[in-house]
Amino acid sequence: MSQPSHRLTRRGFIGAAAAAPVAFGVPTLLQAQARPIKVGLVHPITGFLAYSGGQCRMGAMMAIEEINAAGGIKSMGGAKLEALLGDNQAKPEVGVSVVEQMQEAGVSAYIGCFSSAVALPATQAAAKYNTPFVIDVGASDNIVNRGLRNVFRLKPGFNACVDDAIAGLGEINKAAGSAAKSAVLVHEESEFGTGTAKLLAGKLPSIGIEVREVMKHANPTRDFANLALRIRGLKPDLVVMSNYQNEYVLLARTLHQQKVDLAGMFSVLGGGFNYKFVKELPDVAQYMIDTNHWFDPTNARAQAMKKRVEAKGDLFTFEVYLAYNAVKFLADGMERAGSADKEKVNAALAASTWSDHFMPYGPTRMVNGQNTGGKAAILQASKTDIDVIWPTRFASTKAVFPKPRFS
């Protein structure tokens, strides 16, 4: 009778190696590993808003990578966030298509859309599935006041930003002995610029500033020479601007080139007021004042993130940190919901008192999806940097107002 052989053959070894995990229950562990949570990023990656959309995507991706590196959503067994990337091309119909496409792919929440015109129909499309939709950038107050229970916005909208701008400008102007008594408003023609200018025109007289004229320009506009001549003729103390990146920079440059003397150039949500502007056109940018979404400069995490972004050769623009914080806000809601169940996540976001952000907001307080704790900051550019000048408790320097004259 032959003895069974105990010699380990190559075939036997491979077979045993394959069988071992079965015996030791590894498949159970694999099954226990939480399924990734799909988050749809719906931004304009092509078209005239491509730069801003790309910045939003970068901020959102940084937050997702950070959350995953820290162990994912812990209450859901360490589920990782998986980004679904979409390009809304700044077109409403494309935005809706992207939302539907992601829904098919099993998305659990959306972040977007930069443009209000896209956010309005896209949030409605998501509302059909009750899928949470966190607005990172998108100023229209209509986005959150339609009673859609799945829509949330961390940052302040038009009205709140204009209120903050008026309050801050009023204080700055008063401190300067009411140097500004008149203003010309210049805005781009879409909902963002028109809405902001309309609110400003109504509220500036309340702080003793008379509105001499409201000027509208198309998108894109590449020549502001005539507009600058009209402004010079009107002799206002302030030029108040609301426009997107390129037009903002071009208008500021033209007014500087034509040496139009003003007490200050002030903007609300000025699309071009960022580090790129300061770096490329320091003489033009110097002393310009903007009311915008800004990080808390005293927060160490904000400064660390700024360094990380700049180390990659990118700019730490408002889109980056708004999208970053929007993802973090969503992740906090999911963490507390302990599930990707849409109803539970919506309820968690609605009840959010999240304060682990680096915006000058305080804990979140959601009313109809809008964070009422959100606050804009007033900023002033120097030749090398951008400083917060209002609210005073976050201010890193004092305002230079009125600015030195050309003559």
Binding site: G54, E93, S97, E100, L120, P121, R146
Partner: protein, 315 residues
Amino acid sequence: MSAWRVPVALLAVALAYPLVFRTNFAINFGVLVLFFAVIGQAWNIAGGFAGQLSFGHAVFFGTGAYCSTILHVKLGINPWLGLWASAAAGALVGAFIAALSFRFGLKGSYFALITLAFAEAFRILTNAVEFTGGGLGLLIPLKRSAANFQFPERIGFYYTILALAALSIAIALWLKRSRFGARLAAIRENEDAARALGIDTFREKVKIMALSGALCAAGGTFYAQYFLYIDPVVVFGADKSVEMLLVSMIGGTGTVYGPLIGAFLLTLVGEGTRALTNAQGLSLIIYGGLLIVIIAFLPNGLIDLFKLRWGRRRA
């Protein structure tokens, strides 16, 4: 009977489509195809059948979108009634632009440019006046019910746009077979010769522009009700004019099914390339490349592929 085979088969396929492909993504895809087919056909009956090339059909589209939306939002008029009012407004604007242009003898590229100018003028006007909401645009209050032209499910929108698409194809078929269509073809081929034959070219051109304007405006109302938000750039922008022109050109101008084929292909390519790649702008590069290939090898549009196929079968 054989003449009806194609439209009946197409209608059967279109009716069955949302019953087979039930997801909202698939139905939304179907809605977009039919929507672009409707506005493409609106351009085609003027530009293709009558040879009156327009670069500014967005003027009719925007007129329709704003007409029904203003009636609904400001005066509380039901958007289903607004749809008819929009068609009437589109027809009026079409007749007005045509009468003004043709009275002064504008034709060819001059007519194309004047339509573009009108679209821009309407965009600036809606941007400037208060009752259109200016640059803020108009938001239609969310009130989902079929009676309010806000179907709770996408399938309702699908069958509505299918009805409009069927109507647009019926108009195109009628133009192919009617005396009016024959007069338009004569104008397209040689306007002087048509006039010499006794055709009142001015009247015929005004009539077809009014018809085209009405159909395009109805498409505008559908768009407003589907997305519930319009602003001057979205509805009067040059993008919309180009989209209408493109679906017709790619599918085949002056043909009954060209805009439908063009709309299907362009929507498929647009959605497909976006789904395939996340690389910035790559989907648009693929989209553009495909357009160049189609224009280079099928200058009469994709309809040529079908003609070749049928031609071979017959041979």
